[in-house]
């Protein structure tokens, strides 16, 4: 077992070195490499742009933290409403279903445009016209539609006998959801929830369309002032640094859940191959 995993490691290392080495040689020898390097990998531009761009990331962080809290709560409401049983509740189920279909169908950037420019354009008294506010609302509307489907998948994955048992103990439909079904469901869907959270973090750049100077807009301003694309590299790196640890963490959660469900018969960290799977590789 150990020896096999050692040899696998060597093979993996050699194969990786060959593949990336060949790719690197091809890219560096491309006819446009010099021009590409000047436009995308300009060290001086990078150093000059990075502090200004990173400083603007604060706007995105604020945006996705506020929105994520609202999304998690609102999406759960949608998922529960959609799963309610009984003919009298049909209109509610219908509304939830239409909402979810609608906001999954419309591109997020359009929702942001329509809300941030459209609603203030109505000039209703008392309605805020702050584009940041409408950015949060738009992202919440769009992402809660996705996230409610994740919740729903989790709720439906809980065996019906769980709910039946809860109801037989005298719990109402909502109580059974609240104390029995949803806690189990949420635990199961934490990885896909994190997945959508990552999507949300990246989609915060869409609020730049309505004038907010956040990380993407700041890099675009630098790019258009210098005719050089290196500032985008700065932005890409910021997201990589943010998202990759979270992606690995999500994979680790999935692997742990799998190991846990297989009844503890396999120790999740017993071999190299298993360890690689835990990190999603």
């Amino acid at each position: 077992m150990r020896r096999y995993s050692g040899r696998a490691l060597v093979v993996a290392a050699i194969s990786t070195a060959v593949v990336f080495g060949v790719l690197g040689v091809i890219i560096v020898n491309a006819p446009g490499w010099e021009a590409f390097r000047r436009s995308f990998l300009d060290g001086e531009n990078f150093l000059e742009s990075a502090p200004r761009i990173v400083a603007r990331f604060e706007v995105n962080v604020r945006l996705f933290l506020i929105a994520e809290v609202l999304i998690l709560a609102w999406a759960l409401v949608l998922a529960v409403v959609r799963g309610l049983k009984g003919p009298a509740l049909f209109p509610l189920r219908l509304l939830a279903t239409v909402y979810i279909d609608l906001f999954r169908a419309v591109p997020g950037v359009l929702v942001i445009f329509l809300l941030a420019f459209g609603i203030p354009g109505l000039r209703l008294p008392g309605v805020p016209n702050d584009p940041f506010f409408w950015g949060v609302v738009a992202l919440t509307l769009v992402y809660s539609a996705y996230v409610s489907e994740v919740y729903r998948a989790g709720i439906e994955s809980v065996h019906p006998s769980q709910e039946a048992a809860a109801r037989s103990l005298g719990l109402t439909q909502l109580q059974a959801l609240r104390y029995v079904v949803v806690p189990q469901a949420v635990r199961r869907v934490i990885p896909p929830l994190l997945n959508d959270f990552i999507g949300l973090q990246k989609d915060t750049v869409l609020v730049s369309f309505v004038g907010i100077v956040e990380i993407f807009r700041q890099s675009q301003i630098r790019q258009q002032a210098t005719f050089n694309f290196t500032p985008y590299l700065v932005t890409a790196l910021v997201f990589i640094v943010l998202v990759i640890p979270m992606a690995r963490f999500t994979d680790w959660l999935v692997a742990r859940e799998r190991a846990r469900r297989s009844g503890g018969a396999v120790d999740a960290t017993s071999s190299g191959g298993q360890r690689a799977r835990m990190w999603g590789l």
Binding site: A116, P120, P131, Q220, I221, F229
Partner: protein
């Protein structure tokens, strides 16, 4: 290919006139060109263009007046132009492009137009156009990445607001400073706002002028800064209650629009030579007068 080109003959006539009358003397914009172009062979046959024997010019789509005019009533629009149709040759930049083309020896039939977003004009790699023009202001940083010609228009920045706002009657930059300003990111207007106006609040920055206009209408900003000719188009066509508050004095360095060419393009010297000829003959002034004359008589916003 355009199916139905019906070019107004005036720009062409002017260009031909210019070609005949080109003489000595050198304007400031032309001096740089003149020094580097002695002996360059600038004829349609010998120029290395994207398509042999043809000149490919790029601008934005939609393009707007007064730079590119829409087809007249009854006239068929050319694909893919959504608003302004440069193939008709009307509008300042369309006319300048055809005038430069004529200087280089390309007939109007030998000019092809392509629609490219601003970013694509300076993305690395080979260009699909011989030159691009869409109110791109010259800056030294930009000129390191692409070739930028001598100026064909010298633009002032202007302030557009809604009628009925405090900003409407502003006469000095101090009065503008307290306002919430919007500006498009691809413009040098942004640099002007940050460096010269220095507003008290960070400006809002949009993809393009249309985003800034939408925000002005939604009352998310009090005023937007654009170049003066664009300000006229906005208030005349795009915004019912828009007003041109005034034009700003020029920045320290003179601001002008350049044609954009691929870095080290063999055409750059010839294009500069053509612009110099047009400038010396007065043809460029005539085109400016013809298409951009509204710019005169706008109150100045004092520093």
């Amino acid at each position: 290919m355009p199916k139905n080109i019906r070019l107004t003959t005036l720009p062409l006539a002017l260009a031909l006139l210019a070609a005949c009358t080109a003489g000595g003397g050198s304007s400031p914009a032309a001096s740089e060109a003149a020094s580097g172009t002695a002996g360059a062979d600038c004829t349609a046959e010998s120029l290395e263009t994207v398509a042999d024997g043809r000149l490919t010019v790029s601008t934005s789509n939609p393009a707007f007046p007064p730079y590119v005019l829409a087809p007249e009533e009854g006239e068929q629009a050319t694909e893919p132009w959504e608003f302004g149709d440069p193939t008709k040759g009307r509008g300042f930049e369309a006319a300048v492009a055809y005038a430069v083309a004529a200087e280089l020896g390309f007939s109007t039939d030998a000019v092809d137009w392509i629609a490219l977003p601003f970013e694509n004009t300076f993305a690395p790699g080979e260009k699909d156009f011989d030159f691009a023009l869409q109110q791109i202001s010259y800056t030294e940083e930009r000129a390191e990445v692409v070739d930028m010609s001598d100026g064909y228009y010298f633009a002032n920045q202007a302030l557009v607001s809604r009628s009925g706002t405090d900003l409407e009657g502003a006469t000095s930059i101090d009065e503008v400073r307290a306002a919430r300003l919007g500006v498009a990111s691809s413009t040098t207007s942004l640099a002007y706002v940050e460096e010269v106006i220095q507003p008290e609040q960070d400006p809002m920055v949009y993809n393009d002028n249309d985003g800034a206009i939408a925000a002005l209408q939604a009352e998310q900003v009090d005023g937007i800064v654009v170049d003066l000719p664009t300000a006229f188009f906005i208030t005349a066509v795009q915004m019912e209650d828009g007003v041109v508050v005034g034009q700003f004095p020029g920045a320290d360095e003179e601001e002008y629009f350049s044609l954009v060419l691929e870095k080290d393009s063999p055409l750059t010297d010839c294009v500069n030579q053509a612009l110099a000829t047009l400038s010396e003959s007065g043809a460029l002034d005539d085109l400016t007068q013809e298409w951009m004359s509204d710019s005169a008589g706008v109150p100045e916003i004092a520093p």
